[in-house]
Each structure stands twice: as C-alpha cells, then as structure tokens.
Amino acid sequence: MKYLTPASFAEAASLARDASGVTRFLAGGTDVLVQMRADIVTPDTLIDIKHIDGVRDIIRGADGGWTIGVATPGAEMKEHAELGAEWPGVVEGMDLIGSTQVQGRATLTGNLCNASPAADSVPAMVAAGVEVTVSGPDGSRRVKAEDIPVAPGRTSLSKGELISAVHIPPRGDNGGDAYLRFIPRTEMDIAVVGCGVNLRLDGDVITEARVSLGAVAPTVLLVQACADTIIGSTLDEAALDRLAEAASAACNPITDKRGTVKFRTHVAGVLAQRTAKIAYGRAKGETK
C-alpha cells in the first residue's frame, strides 16, 4: 500500500486520478482502517488529506452559513459552541457516531463518503440542506449531500474526485433541527433507524420542513411526503400521526442482524415524531 500526503486538493485529485488499483482517501480513518483490519478493503493507494491547509477549520461564511473542513473531527464540531447552537441536529448526528475516541477522528465527510445507509450524520446533513464541494482533476462543483451516496458503499464521485468542503446553510430565524436514531444500547451501535428533521416556523406554524430517514433504504432518504404532512401545521397530534404514517410508508428496509423490516418501518414513524418535536421546540427557541 502506497501512503501519500498531498498538500492541496488539486494534488490529491491528480494523485487519485493517476493511481491504479484501489484508492482510498484518509481523513479520520475510522472506516478505512476498520475495513483494512477486517480484510474487506486493503487500498493500493491511501491518500491522506490531512496535510492540506485548512482541512480542520470551521469557518463562518459571509452569508451566515458554515464551511466545515473535510478532516474536522466530530469532537471539534461538538466543542464549537456557535455551530452547536445553530445546528444542534447536525452536531448531534455527527456526535452519535462511535465512541469519544472515534469522535477524535471521525469526520462528516468520511461518514458521507462511506455511503452507509445507517450513517448517523447523513440524515442530519440532508435535513439541514448541506451541500459539499467536490474537487476533481477538472475543477470543482457543488453537490447536495443527499446526492453523494448512491447505494450502500457507493458514491456519485468519479475517479479522482474528492470532497473538499462541507457547507451548512445559514440557520436563519425561527429554525431548528434535530437528529435521533434508534439503537438497542445507549451508545456504540449502528443506527437501526435514524431520522433528521429541520424546520422553520412562522409563529407556531411550520412553514418549511425537511425530513430525512436513515437505515430504512439503500441510501439515506429525503422524504418530501413527511415534510408535507407537517408544513402548515403546528405539529399537533393529527399532524404527528400523519408524519409517522408517511415516515413508515417511505421505508424500504431490509431485515438484518440489527433489525427487521417490520421493526424498522414501525420505529421510523416513532422516531419521526420524536425528532420533529425536538426540532419544533428548538425552532421556537424553547429548548436547546
């Protein structure tokens, strides 16, 4: 295995384009190293992107949004008070991945590119409307987070392309987000179901909503039907019932060692309700 440490994204992209065999980018390494250990993948070329300037920065943009460096570990996001105050759901989604130790290394970008349907940070990013910059040998482009994973373990990135920045939109007024997952223990598990909700209110009424579901389909889902059930409502009981129904209806899960089709479908509805309530409380400024 060749280990390379490019100093720029352009260099990283051209190294990846020119590499033969299996190429992986190394940010936090919490997936790549596990795959190497389990003999699932041993890359021929490993490109460590942590030597590129600015990859661990969390920067407030002119529009009030945020740019997160691709090698920023979850622990640094959690310690960033302003980011957490504006986007608690995104920060929580990231924070739920693995242990404190894993948080010292794992990144939003890695979680997205690992393309697991059960990735915890991805539903939160999708609900928040996160976009990423994809850099490649031929320049860069902006892509919505939900368009990166295309199947379990597969992304829409082509050879030589890598994510060079994560963009979280401006929070704006009267908004709130949340992410919840269901796991059998309290920590250290892969999500059996995950749900992200991002809302904006006008008074008590929901005017904008994005609802996402994880681990219930081959990729994380952005479910417009769920959003539609609560937009225009005050998240009353009837709206919550419709939301649960829509969430369960959107599921297309599998039965595996972590959960059954039936269980995932049911719990997706429960989680959608619980997550929406938290996001709603936050949008109203009533809870943190």
């Binding site: 003999d39 269901f182 059998p184 223990r185 309290t186 250290m188 059996v192 059954t260 039936k262 269980f263």
Partner: protein, 759 residues
C-alpha cells in the same frame, strides 16, 4: 468446571471460630500498581528474541469436507517460516483430547464457520496475515444446522454419527449425544395436588464470555523436545496437559507460565491457539506469538450453549410448589459437552420440593465448541424456571419473594439434584432481599420490577500451594490458580491471618507449571475456597515449624507453644514465662536452627459450599420502540465469608452486568449460510458504561463449614439470577411475558403486538 468433575460436598468440617484481623478488610491489591501503569504483562505482551507471528486460516463454511490444502503460495512468501495443518499434530487421540484436537485444528471436516484448518508463522504479523490468505483450501460444502431444536429434528445434517454415548435412548437423532435424568418424588401426583399448573417453553441464545483480552500466547519449542509457553489462561496445568497430548510430547517437558489474564469467565479454561503456536514453533524452530483477533474470538472460541427448555410447575393457592419438571435441550456446538446436566441440576436447586424431575439433552450443531461461561448451564435454566414461578405468582396474586421464601431450600433440604444441603444461605438471601429498601421502593410509570433467585454448586478441585518465609520475616506464597479478579489479595489476606504478619509483608505469585504441584483451573468459583484453604493450611504448616523453633529455643515441649498475633508464645500454666517471640526473630536465625521454614499443601478439597443469590431489578420499557433500560439493580448473594469484600462486590456487579447483556442484547446471529453475522463488538453488543446503573451489592455471610473462614466462592452465582430477574422486570413493565432471549427491542415490540392482537 468440567462436566465429570462435580462431586457433592463431602469435605471435613473446617470452620474455625476465631476473630479475624485481616480477613474482611479491603487493602490495595498487590498487582494494582502494575495494572494502572501499563506494566502488567498479559498474553500478547511478551516478545522473545527471533520471535515470529502466527496467523490461523479458518473455514468460511459451517460444514464442509476438507478436500485439499495447498500451502505452496504461502510458503513461497518472503518471511514465511512455517505452515501447519492437522498433519502436524498427534494422532490416535481419544475422548476429550480427541475433541479438543479436532476443535483446535480441523481434520477431515470443518465443523463450523471459523474452524481452524491451517496456520502460518512469519517474521511479522502483516506477513503472517498475508500468508494466511494465500493458503488455498478446497472444500466440499455440506448441509449445516445451527439451531438446537432443528439439530434434533429428523433429517438434520449429522455432525458426527459416532458422538452419542450410551445414555442416549434409541431412536434419537445422532446429533443428540448425551442424556441426563434426575429428581425425586412423584411429579404426576404433585401436579394433581396443584391449584395452578404453568407450563411453557423458553429459549436462550448463545452468549460469549466477552473477555476483553483476546486469547494469546507465545510458544517456544526446541529440537530437544522441550517447550515453553506463555499464555493468558485460567489454568496452565490444563494447558500443559492438553498441549502435550495434542503435540505428542511428554507433559513434564512443557513448562507453561500463566501471564496476567484479561478476563476469562470460563472461556479460557480450555485451549484454542496454544497447541497451534507450539506446532508452528516446533516446525520453525523459533518462538511464535499467536494472538487471536476479536472476530476469531467470537467465531471460534467460547461461547456458552444455547438452550430450548420446557418447564412445568404446579402451585397451590398459598404459593406452595407441589411439583416441578423441566426438560433442557442445550446445543454446545460441534462437539459433545453442552452443560445440560448443570442446567437440569441447578434448575430447581433453590427450592425444597417433594416432587421434582429434570431431563437434559446434549445436542451438537455446526457452531463453535462451547466453553464454560460462569456457572455453565445454570443461568438459562434459572431464566426458564424463575419466569414460570413469576408467572404463577402473578396469576395467583402472590408476592414473588414470599413465594420463594415459602418454598426455599434450607439446611437439611434434599436438593433437587440429589444430596442433602448442609448449612446454606437461600433463606438468608431472600430475607435480605425482602428487607432491602429497593424491594419496597415505588416504581415510576412504565417500569416493572423483577426478582429471581439462583444457585451454583461451587467447586474444590486439585490444589497445591507452597509458602516460604524469608529471613527478614516476610513471606512468599506460590499458588497455581491464575488471578482473574484479585485473588492474590485474598490469598495474602488469608496468609496474613494465619501468620499474624502484615498483608504488605506477603507476596503472592502465580507459579508456573515447573515450580508447583498440579492445580485445577481457576473455575467453579474455586480459587478463594480451594487455593485459600491450601494457603491457610500451608501457612499453618509453617506456623507449626515456627512454634517448634521457639520451643527448642525456650527448651520446652512443642505443644507448650502456641501462635498468637505473629508471635510464638508459651501456652498453658506449665510452659514457663517467656516473652513472645516474633516471626521475624525466628526466621532471622532459621538457617542455623533447623533450616528454611516453609509450608505446603496439596489436596483435592471437597468441602466447597453451595451458594444462592437473589436479584432485584427495575426495568423501564419504551412501549413504542421496545427499548429497555435497567434503572435499578440489587444483587444479594451468600459469599459464606467475604475475604476481600470490595472484590466480592466486584464479582456480584460483574455477574449482574454480564447477565444484563445476555438478557437484553447479546446473541450469536447466524445467517442462512451458517456464518456468524456479528463478529465484532460493534454487533456483539455487550453492555457499555452508559447502559447500566450503579449495581448495589449486598453480601450475605452464611459460613461454609468446609472452609476455615467460611468461604463459599463468589464468581459464578452472580450470573444465575439476572436473566430471569430482568425477564420478570421487563415482562412486568411491558405487561407481556417474554420467553426468548435476548429480549431485544424487536422481540419486545413483537410480543406487545401479539398481545394487542390477542386482546
């Protein structure tokens, strides 16, 4: 504790009535400093000059004939020094040695996913792993079965037609390999007297011991036929005997040293990679380190048996149990040995029953060979029996602790498994549980409380201890039972008690196989009892010599000297008037007064005292998701005597935590292809810190007459009640009876739905 080893208590009365000065205190453990500074050396922590690294090639199939093994590509890899297969081990082994060899390295067939088929040694761990991938094994895949009930059913693939012993009645499937039946009275007559009969089937999945340190060893074999082995094990004499047999060498030529051990819980009472490392070392003529990866530990070592059990209990309206009957079908992997007779014998052992009958079946399947796991066989039986008792209590509107008290075994009770109990603590633990504030504390909405009791035999086993005094009056004690939870502290306390010298002046070492007599494994909750008894007797032997030296010095009769508080003192009116002679003054001149002073003791003590425990659990069930949270937990258990109470509490708390994992989330998940699906800790879900509450530990002390200070042993009983106690709490919280472990969220939700459907 091996299946053929249990003997009912028949030991001499040993209990002495004496005020204890050291025993019962909680000094710092002697190995504490090493363990908090990273200096303690565990199985994989030793390196030797010229050492190679080993890796094992494992079957990806649950059941397959091994057609051909071609290691030429592996052997050609730069850095590879040896490849071994079954051909490199002894032939003609029979019985348990034969099973162990077959498990350690497959012969004609791979019998489960992960079964070792070859191994390599190379100059680095990476090269060894690369080489293992280059070993080409041709398999003829055979049909497989991994479920106990399916393995017994007609048409199930036969694991080995020659396994079944004479106990199995004719007409059973060849996968049914052993049968047990015991009990007394007339159960049919007893059921006829009952006002209520509850009859149900319960199932449990296999759980792994889950020790955090993967099995590991360093082996060194020379062309002179001598060998050295460093290994994390619960019993290095067992390792010595088995490795020697499997390699076809003489036992005494193999010296085995027990490293510090990172947990065992029964799982390290046998051998897995040790004989393989020795075979690699013999072939390469270099030392070999072989440390398993976690996935290998889960696929190919341990776990406990899975079980399917039918229980029938008859009860009168006042709670009296009129009859009890149980059938226990245990699957212990691809070899005979599932602890079904322990399930059967422990099932009703807590109670004084006129009519009781229990039946056990040992069933083989395409899973790894089960290894002992803390009170092997007992927890699953308690789960089934105590759940049925709880069901009966609920139906009759009776308090579950009162019903247990009403039926509790007491001194003199004829046990369900045969003997009459001596002095026992079943009633005392129930009374202590009833009096504990936990039992009367109010519950929050959504919560349920469960109680359950459990029993374990405890064990004696072959034991040797050697103790020697130094000129400066300090003492060294060599014991042969690896310290898996603080036993060196307990040994030092007991030696201090006899010798009357400070705890700090005693150093306890786990001796290797070359420097002490034979010792049975650290299992069966036997260490504090048996090695403790041996330490006390070895110390007494030294004291006798100390008194002789004092008598000689004073010129009086030996029996006119007694030992008090670390000194020889004249005893009796005619002994004369001499100042107490401290131990250090006697040892200072021992070289010229008769020679070195030591004491030793070798025996197979048979006075282990049975023990009982009762647990109280509060659980909260999320009715929408089926998630369970354990909100409060209390362990009450009879220790006989707690030598070092803090480590006794630790055993109770650890047993409860393992029980919580087994009850709620731990399980072996096999796919349709017979492969284990959850081979890492991410998916083999043992409890993490945030899953658990503080665990209150209540030590009851009803002395064991078979030990000088009353020790019963505490390692195992603590895992017997939790499965049932948690099942009772969850069932009471959810309002529906859970009959299958683990009670994971999908299963609880399913049960809630089924109940809603029934209503």
């Amino acid at each position: 504790m091996a299946l053929d080893e249990y003997k009912p208590q028949s030991g001499d009365a040993e209990l002495e009535n004496k005020e204890l000065k050291y025993v019962g205190t909680t000094p710092d453990r002697p190995d504490g400093l090493d363990k908090v500074t990273g200096k303690a050396r565990f199985g994989a922590d030793l390196s030797l000059p010229g050492m190679l690294f080993g890796a094992i090639v494992r079957s990806p199939h649950a059941h397959a004939r091994i057609v051909k093994i071609d290691a030429s590509k592996a052997e050609a890899l730069d850095g590879v020094k040896a490849v071994v297969t079954r051909a490199d081990f002894a032939t003609g082994l029979e019985g348990e040695y034969g099973f162990v060899l077959e498990n350690v390295m497959a012969g004609e067939k791979a019998l489960y996913d992960g079964h070792a088929v070859a191994a390599v040694a190379a100059t680095s761990a990476l090269i060894a792993r690369d080489a293992a991938k280059l070993v080409e094994v041709e398999y003829e895949v055979l049909p497989h079965v991994t479920d106990v009930d399916k393995a017994m059913a007609e048409g199930a693939p036969v694991i080995n037609a020659a396994y079944a012993d004479a106990s199995v009645p004719e007409g059973m499937h060849p996968n049914v390999v052993r049968h047990h039946e015991s009990g007394h009275g007339d159960v049919e007559a007893g059921f006829a007297e009952a006002d209520l009969i509850v009859e149900d089937t319960y199932v449990t999945e296999a759980a792994h011991q889950g020790y955090i340190e993967p099995n590991a060893c360093v082996a060194q074999m020379g062309s002179d036929g001598k060998g050295e082995l460093w290994v994390c094990t619960q019993g290095h004499w067992y390792v010595q005997k088995h490795c020697a047999a499997l390699l076809g060498m003489e036992t005494a030529q193999l010296r085995v040293t027990a490293s510090e051990i990172g947990g065992g819980f029964g799982g390290k009472t046998t051998v897995f990679q040790e004989p393989v490392a020795l075979a690699l070392s013999r072939k390469a003529s270099r030392p070999v380190k072989l440390a398993l990866q976690r996935s290998e530990v889960l696929r190919a070592t341990g776990p406990t048996a899975s079980a399917s059990m039918d229980i029938k209990i008859g009860m009168k309206k006042d709670g009296t149990i009129t009859a009890a009957e149980g059938t226990f079908r245990l699957q212990g992997g691809a070899f005979p040995g599932a602890p079904m007779e322990f399930s059967a014998m422990c099932a009703f052992a807590c109670y004084d029953l006129a009519n009781v009958r229990q039946v056990g079946w040992d069933v083989v399947s395409n899973r790894p060979k089960q290894a002992a796991y803390r009170a092997p066989g007992a927890p699953m039986a308690a789960f089934a029996v105590e759940s049925v008792i709880d069901t009966a209590c609920n139906k009759l509107g009776l308090d579950p602790l009162e019903v247990r008290l009403k039926n509790a075994a007491h001194d003199g009770t004829k046990a369900s498994w045969g003997p009459r109990y001596d002095q026992i603590g079943m009633v005392a633990t129930l009374e202590a549980a009833k009096a504990h504030p936990h039992y009367s504390a109010p519950l929050e909405p959504g919560q349920g409380r469960g109680v359950a009791s459990g029993f374990w035999f405890n064990h004696g086993g072959e034991t040797s201890v050697s103790l020697s005094l130094s000129e400066d009056g300090t003492c060294q004690v060599s014991v042969g039972t690896p310290d898996i939870g603080g036993s060196r502290a307990s040994m030092a306390l007991m030696a201090a008690e006899v010798l009357g010298i400070p705890y700090e002046n005693i150093r306890v070492t786990i001796a290797d196989t070359a420097t002490l007599g034979y010792n049975d494994v650290s299992h069966g909750s036997r260490v504090t009892y048996a090695s403790g008894l041996a330490t006390i007797k070895a110390a007494r032997a030294a004291v006798e010599k100390l008194c002789q030296r004092a008598a000689a010095k004073w010129g009086i009769e030996e029996d006119a000297v007694k030992w008090e508080d670390g000194c020889a003192v004249p005893s009796g009116a005619n002994a004369g008037d001499f100042d107490p002679l401290p131990l250090a003054e006697i040892t200072a001149t021992m070289g010229s007064t008769g020679g070195p002073i030591s004491g030793h003791f070798e025996a197979t003590p048979e006075g282990a005292g049975v023990s009982f425990g009762t647990h109280i659990v509060d659980a909260e069930v999320d009715q929408e998701t089926g998630a369970t949270k354990i909100v409060r937990y209390t362990v009450v258990q009879d220790a006989g005597k707690a030598i070092h109470p803090a480590y006794v509490e630790g055993q109770y708390q650890g047993g409860a935590a393992q029980g919580i994992g087994w009850a709620l989330n731990e399980e072996y998940v096999y796919g349709e292809d017979g492969r284990l699906q959850n081979t890492v800790f991410l998916d083999y879900r043992i409890p993490v810190a945030s899953d658990l509450p503080m665990i209150d530990a209540v030590i009851v002390e009803v002395p064991n007459p078979g030990h000088p200070y009353g020790v019963r042993g505490v390692g195992e009983t603590g895992i017997v009640p939790p499965l049932a106690a948690i099942a009772n709490a969850v069932s009471n919280a959810a309002g529906v009876r859970l009959k299958s472990l683990p009670m994971n969220p999908p299963k609880i939700l399913e049960a809630l739905e089924d109940q809603a459907g029934d209503a």
